[in-house]
Subunit: 461 residues, 3 copies
């Protein structure tokens, strides 16, 4: 258990106030009336479960975003993938992931023990042993409150992958990859950083996970996109790109609003404590910056979408919000709000241009998740250098090492899965749609849907 | 007022820590720095209103689930039923229900007085009488915070009924039944249990309401389904069952995510206090178990849907999440998370098989609410015996007596309503759809909808 | 900075307990165990950011409500307007609005300085200067927590305008108006009232903004509707009114549920503190009343929609919920819950009749926002007189002066915008729909949409 506490300091160290936090509490308790130990424990634990619940809500956001972005013939399967990945992430992280990430972390990885549980002192307290209270309060928060908060972060990482690979990755293959991602890949990255491993020792800063969560998801998605390949006729032989508009724009928009709301929990809760004035001051700064960065992402994407994409583009604006959020996530605790606007705004520029870049590279990313989560995540992690005193070399080492690890291992696993289970559905399934072919249902069975004329012609020939 | 306090101990007694809780506070206040009385009051009250707000959100979840599950021609009416039932539940529970459930409860029922209000001390405090503070703090929480939290639970019960009976129950008949359910039936069940009545005295355990809320809703829905009958041609003369797929799968999925999120408030808030380390430790355990049980419900339903239903079934997975949540609701405060997974997983199995059973019994339940809320609710209430020390005999007495009461009285009321107001719309209204026939609108007026060929043929003949 | 504190007293003074609040804290700290200063700071700040996050969620509610209310051909543009207005509101309020509203407010307006920031003491604390804690705690809450809470209120005001003017106002013109509304118009109204200006000095009471937020939005929308004009053929030459039903009823319903949930934050957070028993007692009362008023709005609208509109009208019920919420917003802290029901119920009556009145006046309000937000807002502000001791003369002066200011300046600005940028899209764009014409996309590109026969005929001729 002691080992699991280390990351706290590491993680907070990356934020505002760092070690001073602890010192302050000691200092201030004599100088003024401060919360008592049990109240602190309550507030910290509550912060984890409340903000964690908002992060769970982000899964609904990804689901709406993706279900609205795909063609109607694949909308049911993407719903199943999303509820399935959230279920898998929770179970896998409980079974193995959390222990790999936070328990007895050496430089590179934690413990391979199975299952995570409340501390012995907490179980004693819950069983009626009043004397256990003192031991319980040696921790700053309850065991499972922290587990809950960390668990919803894993799910976020997995959500990123489903969007990029929508409309052609096989259901079961995707689920197997999700197990590996959430039980192993993400926890290893987490062990290096928030778990107190080698990157943390070097001073790598990533407050709520621009790299640790979002780029990790982005790299895994990118590897998958390369192995699985583009959707049929997305990149035509004549070099043109087929337009594949979202089937349900209000659903996509709702998804982005959900994500925006959930991000207040994602970044705000990553202060990891709410037991001092310092904590809530920081948390308030974090929420303000998170909102301003997202707003700037929207406005910049709106402004640059015409020159870059040829029109005012709603999807660019929505993705710009996400990119702004991702970009600020590495350092939302900066005191300069103008800088938060700049960081988020550049995020919106990057995601908009990034969509164009992905098309050039002929990599098919259905929802633009790689630009928004990976590209903007890299930017946000670098931005910490001038915004919050990060060291450029260390930040780059973190970005590159995590990128190399996640991308390589993901590529290998996707390849292995392709050789065994097949990564991609058959052309016939792709034409029919995964909903009918894999699930035997339609997302909107009563609505008359226009056939994709290009697909029809292709099938005829 | 004093009487309303009784249930608290009763209800907490069913959970972790029970009476020790109070003892602990006394003990610990000398042994270590604990929250002062006013801070405890604040935290407890805040816990009620915050988690209660999340439970209110579950009504939106039921609405989306049901609006997506029905055919498009009935989607508007189900929206009206849901916003209407939430409005009715609040007004009816304020007018009578709360007093019947919690005020001066004898063995079987509380007070028939009208309206519930802030305590005299609170009103004095709000009016500027500082001296009233001490009296206010004799309670552990503010009066209306508790009312608010209890009120959203009633609404949940009513939400269950609307789903089962969708597409054929008359709008006004449904509303009249909702008034009786929320002003009388549910409060009586509540008085027996959380209100401190005879089942509570026996030691019946139901932490957040697997039986009290979910089975009660399920029994009322089942009685209604029997009286109202199945939708036209749902069960054909040749013994086959007509497939009636949801009209909007992303809406159903969104509904389930909303319910999952809201359930953190439903179960977490049912700790009924947040003023001690014990409380937040328990609350954290509750959230972790709630999530794990739902996840297991999804995965088990996914696994068994192919053998049971003949295909990987998205709806079974979504309903499995709900069944997992319902199953853990009677005892989410257990310290064994593996057991929470088992309980939720079996819930997912039950709901999937239950859908098949309902078809065999030729009972038409549009959203599978009876399997998910009633069957899984019974299971969860029994599971408390091995997971949290419940007595099997007592649990069975609770399940059976509540079942007998709710089912019988609901059956009588549905019958009476059928004889007076009619329970069911006319065949012509059912064919046209309730939206056009009862409201004069369509849910999606611009979208071209495919006619139900079977319905059309039937109308011709 | 000191000046920004004034409004707090002003604003709380309008609510329960007023100045006694502060006195109580002093008094009670000797009489009983009360929260220490730092705990109070934490709870107050947390209240702002948490409830503020729920208010942000209301923007998603407006988006769903509006996207479901417009015809499908304009659903994408309304999504863009909504995410854009939320982004603009945050940036404009940060850049100028907050300072105009709260910093160094004289009688009429605050400071024209740019940007708002954490206090110097907070920055020092965040930078590690432990000695700054005492200065930080001189405030009752963290600087940016208050900013965040105030910012989401501005966005609500802007959201009201987009709904009324949907389907014909030009995208960029709307955004320019939004900048002016959120950077200047709303902040001036706010300075007069919550900022401590002349209306506040007179004793004008508006707890959470029936007038300050909702009527302000309503007046701005009304002015816009007059300048922009009605949608083509909405009011036919023969005096009949064209029926323009919502295109997606479940989306509208979801929007209203989101608003209802968000309103708990809107009204509950407007207690502006959570650091005493008095505060949470008031907050609990506020949530109970908010819910009851909305419920009454639904039920009254349901009852009167048949005589007024000729049928049981789902939209009237949904708008009735909003009107009930708006009506109670000026005084949700009243101790008589029956009165809250009456106030909300009359709100539902007003919004239903108001829709009819707007049709008579031939003013085209796509979502009925003017009846729900302006008419019910006026009613709620007057209701404070008998429900919470407001002075009728003062309340009327507030309603009229704010109405005159907002309506006049909005009218001028809409006129100027019409002369320069054009306020309205061309007839061809209106027929084609703004989605295709302004954004080059469709909201539901795969669904077959029925052409509006009247439009088609009109285009032919």
């Amino acid at each position: 258990m002691k080992e699991t506490c280390r990351y706290k300091q590491t993680r907070r160290g990356a934020g505002i106030g760092s070690i001073i936090g602890a010192a302050l509490v000691l200092y201030s308790s004599s100088a003024h009336a401060a919360p008592d130990g049990e109240t602190q424990f309550i507030l910290n634990s509550f912060s984890f479960i409340l903000w964690g619940a908002l992060v769970m809500w982000m899964c609904a956001g990804f689901t709406m975003l993706e279900a609205g972005s795909v063609r109607t013939k694949n909308a049911s399967v993407i719903c199943l993938k999303n509820i399935g990945l959230y279920a898998i992430a929770g179970l896998a992280y409980f079974t193995l992931g959390y222990n790999l990430m936070y328990v007895d972390v050496g430089g590179f990885i934690g413990s391979f023990t199975l299952f995570y549980n409340s501390s012995a002192a907490e179980i004693a307290l819950l069983s009626g042993d009043e004397a256990a209270l003192a031991s319980v309060l040696e921790s700053d928060y309850s065991t499972m409150s922290d587990w809950f908060f960390q668990m919803v972060f894993v799910a976020t990482t997995a959500s990123i992958v489903s969007g990029t690979l929508a409309e052609r990755v096989k259901l079961w293959t995707f689920f197997v990859f999700t197990i590996i991602l959430t039980a192993f890949i993400y926890p290893v990255v987490g062990a290096w950083t928030w778990g107190g491993g080698w990157l943390s020792e070097m001073g790598f800063q990533d407050f709520a996970g621009s790299t640790i969560v979002h780029s990790t998801g982005g790299w895994a998605a990118l590897a998958g996109a390369i192995v699985v390949g583009a959707r049929a006729r997305k990149f035509r032989k004549d070099g043109t790109v087929k337009n594949t508009p979202p089937s349900n724009i209000p659903a996509v928009t709702l998804g982005v609003f959900i994500l925006w709301l959930g991000w207040f929990g994602f970044n705000g809760g990553s202060q990891l404590a709410m037991s001092s004035a310092l904590d809530v001051v920081a948390m308030s700064v974090v929420l303000a910056n998170t909102n301003l960065a997202a707003a700037a992402g929207v406005m910049v994407a709106m402004s640059v979408s015409r020159p870059i994409l040829g029109r005012v583009d709603l999807l660019a604006c929505l993705n710009g919000a996400i990119a702004g959020l991702v970009a600020i996530t590495a350092g939302p605790d900066i005191v300069s709000h103008q800088l938060a606007i700049v960081i988020g705004g550049i995020g919106g520029l990057i995601s908009t241009a990034g969509v164009k870049l992905m098309e050039r590279l002929k990599i098919d990313d259905v929802v633009g998740a790689v630009p928004a989560h990976l590209f903007a995540g890299i930017w946000g992690t670098i931005a910490v250098c001038f915004a919050a005193g990060g060291q450029l070399s260390v930040q780059l080492i973190g970005i590159l090492s995590i990128g190399a690890f996640v991308f390589t291992i993901s590529l290998i696993i996707w390849k292995l899965l392709d050789l065994t289970l097949k990564a991609r559905v058959s052309p016939m399934v792709e034409e029919l749609g995964q909903d009918v072919a894999e699930l035997g249902i339609e997302a909107y069975p009563e609505f008359m849907i226009m056939p994709d004329s290009e697909d029809v012609e292709d099938l005829k020939s």
